[in-house]
């Protein structure tokens, strides 16, 4: 078992999420959760997690309607507060998404979100457990480690700046699955569905101190 952390985490769900599923695992870690109800919650949260599944378009419409987009950018780029985006919650941190209609994202990371069938030599969803190769230290994982995580997605993150990439996966070609910039972490895999390797990532994120 991972060491238990006594923490609060604020959650901003985008799209049609699997929030109850994430909640269950955070409870196992003895973490209390609070849902974002206002832009102020986004600015004040010590640790913010953005889970989500569904389409980029739906997620961005939701953020824009509530004026959360600019607040998230401020949190990440100016205040540099710990923020973890999971799956769709990671993808919305990019410049442009192409799921649904072409849509602007938050531009915390520069790059695009594209259907994997356009970029990789595969014609099927990336669903299941796959090996992740870490290129940089990332939330407790060391450079050069290979660790298995659970994935379920059709779209992938294509960053402009290769230095942002902390880890890659090979599914008919390499693609980015973990990125960091300031205190902003983006993961394509589901740490909350990845047994002990996922718990380690979540615990490390919750242990981050703001400096």
């Amino acid at each position: 078992m991972e060491p238990k952390v006594n923490k609060n985490v604020t959650i901003l769900e985008v799209g049609f999420g699997n929030l109850p599923s994430l909640d269950r695992v955070l409870k196992q870690l003895n973490v209390d959760t609070k849902n974002v109800e206002s832009a102020q919650d986004i600015l004040e949260a010590e640790h913010l997690m953005i889970p989500g599944v569904g389409s980029f378009e739906t997620a961005m419409n939701y953020l824009n309607q509530n004026n959360y987009g600019q607040t998230l950018k401020k949190r990440a780029l100016e205040l540099k507060l710990p923020t973890l985006g999971i799956c769709l919650g990671a993808q919305i941190m990019f410049d442009i998404g192409q799921e649904g209609k072409i849509m602007k994202g938050l531009s915390i990371f520069n790059g695009t979100i594209e259907n994997l069938t356009n970029k990789l030599a595969k014609k099927k969803s990336h669903t299941g457990w796959d090996k992740v190769k870490f290129r940089q230290d990332f939330l407790g994982v060391s450079e050069n480690e290979n660790i298995d995580f659970f994935f379920n997605h059709d779209y992938i993150m294509i960053p402009d700046n290769k230095d942002d990439i902390s880890a890659e996966c090979d599914y008919g070609g390499n693609f980015a699955v973990a990125l960091k910039k300031y205190s902003c972490y983006a993961v394509q895999f589901h740490p909350e569905k990845s047994q002990k390797s996922g718990l380690a990532i979540l615990s490390n994120f919750l242990g981050l101190k703001h400096v």
């Binding site: 049609f16 699997n18 109850p20 599923s21 909640d23 269950r24 695992v25 196992q28 599944v53 569904g54 389409s55 014609k123 099927k124 969803s125 990336h126 669903t127 299941g128 457990w129 796959d130 090996k131 298995d148 659970f150 994935f151 379920n152 997605h153 059709d154 599914y171 589901h190 909350e192 569905k193 990845s194 047994q195 002990k196 996922g198 718990l199």
Partner: protein
């Protein structure tokens, strides 16, 4: 990507059960489930009549199964409306299993995919040999034709349930699974009939078969799945180390 061994857990009015040819056979204690050695968990509510009471018993059983688990969870059983999916989402599901054996499910599946995304949906077809199986009898419809019909209107994976093999321990219906796997480029999950580790190994060797389900055998001993996984791996099967 690794191939998966999935626990397919059938729950009848809140009680984990075993079936043979889809008929409830024995009841089991969920204490026996060797959860952590699987790659994914699928819970299906097989209650004959679904009521508020049966839903809450189903949820209690799921909570117990998932108490110490951080595995992906798919939930199914009687999903016919968007509200059914939303209910199972509250139960903590990551994906939803929708039975597409009958054509009257097609309009709903299209709607569900539009609302929740293709990758949230697992389509399932029940079959007996090369014919589909519905409402307790095998139909005169050919399984492959039904796969053809739903190919462009389905979830990201297709679960093939062999009712004929269910609970028999004779092995998966590889002949029919392979026909589908060779004809269509879609990820398959195969269920029904596993009795020993070599059944898992053999079926996972087939291209396009991404996962197999065990729904009965792991109840027999708490060590079954960890031992089987080691056997499959030692023979070169592409499964992850747990």
């Amino acid at each position: 990507m690794y191939k998966r061994i999935i626990a397919l857990i059938l729950i009848n009015n809140g009680i984990v059960c075993r079936t043979r040819n889809f008929q409830p056979d024995y009841m089991y204690s969920d204490e026996f489930i060797d959860g952590k050695y699987f790659d994914e968990i699928i819970c299906i509510d097989v209650s004959q009549v679904r009521t508020d009471k049966s839903h809450s018993l189903f949820l209690e059983a799921i909570e117990k199964i998932m108490e110490h688990s951080q595995l992906p969870l798919a939930i199914g059983g009687g999903i016919k409306s968007i509200e059914d999916i939303k209910r199972y989402r509250k139960f903590g599901a990551d994906r939803y299993v929708i039975n597409q054996t009958e054509a009257d499910s097609d309009t709903f599946v299209e709607k569900a995919i539009k609302e929740f995304g293709k990758s949230s949906i697992i389509s399932s077809l029940n079959h007996w040999g090369n014919l589909t199986y519905s409402n307790g009898v095998n139909t005169n419809k050919v399984l492959q034709q039904r796969v053809h019909q739903i190919f462009n209107n389905r979830g990201s994976e297709l679960l093939l349930n062999s009712v004929e093999r269910d609970g028999t321990l004779l092995g998966f219906d590889n002949a029919n699974a392979e026909t589908i796997a060779n004809t269509y480029d879609l990820p398959l999950i195969i269920s029904g009939g596993v009795g020993r580790w070599s059944h898992i190994f053999d079926t996972l060797q087939i291209e396009n078969i991404e996962a197999v389900c065990t729904s009965n055998i792991y109840h027999f001993t708490t060590k079954t799945i960890s031992t089987w996984r080691s056997e499959v791996m030692s023979k070169g099967g592409n499964v992850r180390i747990v």
